[in-house]
């Protein structure tokens, strides 16, 4: 005598989740038992009804703002990816914070909760796994720990573009290149960091929330190492600056003014 067929098996039958053997077993049972057939029918009918209700819901148009925001995020991501493509240098890491904005209404009453999760997303360093790019060597990475150190932060607040400053520790030297405003109006500074091991990092940091955030960095390998010309690292930088919409460099006066505002 065949095993009694429970409701969930009937449901699975109605949903097409059974294998051929199981389906045959249920079909035979349904043919013999009209009560069973009616039970199965309930699952079939609710399944159909729910699908129809779902189709009906799908007719609700996606708000334009939502669509545009998602399209913008996708575009921003692509710009960043394109900027990261190899230019004959080693790209280490970059933060996407400035590039992929997440447009949540600031007055959303669940915003604080979202902010926590956004911080998780944008706070993670993204190493580009582009073929040929080696992000594994610690000595060639500008560690965030380095960047959090006071000397660099102080230098960003004080050194005018075109000048340099010995950071004292480990023979590091900071060289300020230029300042810009990014799309959010935040002050960004391009600078180079020469390290004792002769590696140089070209970086961009933007001032946000009372501090500096590293938004772009590329290691410029010296000629003797891998045969890459240092100048090519500047192409990546230019691509990055284009991608995130940073405009022309500020004049020295404008830069001094901007720095005074944030000190």
């Amino acid at each position: 005598m065949a095993q009694k067929i429970d409701d969930e098996k009937l449901m699975a039958f109605a949903d097409g989740e059974l294998n051929d053997k199981q389906m045959l077993e249920v079909e035979n049972a349904l043919n013999k038992d009209p009560v069973l057939a009616e039970r199965m029918g309930m699952y079939l009918e609710t399944g159909k009804l729910l699908k129809e209700a779902g189709d009906y819901l799908l007719e609700t148009p996606v708000p334009d703002v939502l669509r545009k925001n998602v399209e913008q995020m996708l575009t921003d991501a692509e710009s960043l990816e394109n900027a990261a493509k190899p230019h004959g240098f080693r790209l280490t890491t970059a933060r996407q914070e400035e590039s992929i904005k997440l447009p949540i209404a600031a007055n959303s009453n669940w915003y604080p909760a979202i902010a926590a999760s956004i911080a998780l997303i944008v706070g993670s360093l993204i190493g580009y796994g582009v073929a040929g790019i080696d992000t594994s060597s610690d000595s060639e990475q500008l560690q965030i720990a380095d960047f959090g150190q006071l000397p660099i932060t102080n230098a960003l607040y004080t050194v005018p573009s075109g000048e340099e400053l010995d950071l004292g520790e480990n023979g590091e030297r900071f060289r300020a290149i230029a300042s810009y405003n990014n799309q959010s109006g935040a002050l960004c500074r391009e600078f180079e960091l020469d390290k004792a091991d002769k590696s140089t990092f070209v970086s961009v940091a933007c001032h946000k929330d009372m501090g500096w955030r590293l938004t772009f960095t590329v290691a410029a390998m010296s000629q003797s190492d891998d045969g890459y010309a240092p100048a090519s690292s500047l192409e990546a930088l230019d691509s990055y600056l284009d991608a995130v919409g940073i405009d022309n460099a500020l004049s020295l006066e404008a830069e001094t003014e901007a720095l005074n505002k944030i000190k």
Partner: protein
């Protein structure tokens, strides 16, 4: 536009529909869709192209929603803020009776307990397999099925579908 981008845009209506089932508020749903897309774009390298992007995105969305609930320490949706599904259909062809039935169905779905609404949405509306739903939710298939069965019985009994039959005597224990 790349395939990835095209597919994500094409999934927006379904993403919003699922977001509505989770949050039951159009504003929160929009935010949830944006957060999901942002996370997905940031984690693009973890998406294996050729696999189902909808399942991948639903899982991200569901996790994002759970994070939000935890952060807000709200075990359930605040009823006062519950604005419900917007029902804006292109109604030209539908009869009044059909529209009423669908509207009632949608209301019944909304009133299900969260755990039942979730599985019924993923299986019967998003048409994912039991196995896919089990993977997205992290629930054993048996649990997916028992919740699904209970939810459908509830809806059937509320809407008068096979009334005698929707009172079950042969339920597996969860």
């Amino acid at each position: 536009m790349s395939d990835f981008n095209k597919e994500m845009i094409s999934l927006l209506p379904r993403l919003r529909r699922f977001a509505m089932s989770l949050s039951r508020s159009p504003d929160k749903a929009d935010d949830l869709v944006q957060i999901t897309c942002h996370k997905a774009i940031s984690a693009k390298e973890s998406y294996a192209s050729g696999t189902r992007m909808d399942s991948w995105l639903f899982r991200i969305m569901r996790n994002a929603w759970i994070d939000t609930l935890r952060a807000n320490k709200a075990p359930t949706i605040d009823i006062d803020n519950d604005e419900g599904f917007e029902i804006v259909g292109q109604d030209g062809q539908k009869t009044i009776e059909t529209r009423l039935m669908l509207t009632r169905t949608i209301q019944e779905i909304e009133q299900l307990p969260d755990d039942q609404r979730e599985v019924i949405t993923l299986v019967c509306i998003e048409e994912l397999s039991y196995k896919e739903v089990s993977e997205i939710t992290g629930l054993p298939i048996g649990t997916v099925m028992s919740r699904l069965s209970r939810a459908r019985k509830k809806i059937a009994s509320e809407l008068g579908i096979n009334p005698e039959m929707s009172r079950s005597t042969i339920d597996k224990a969860e």
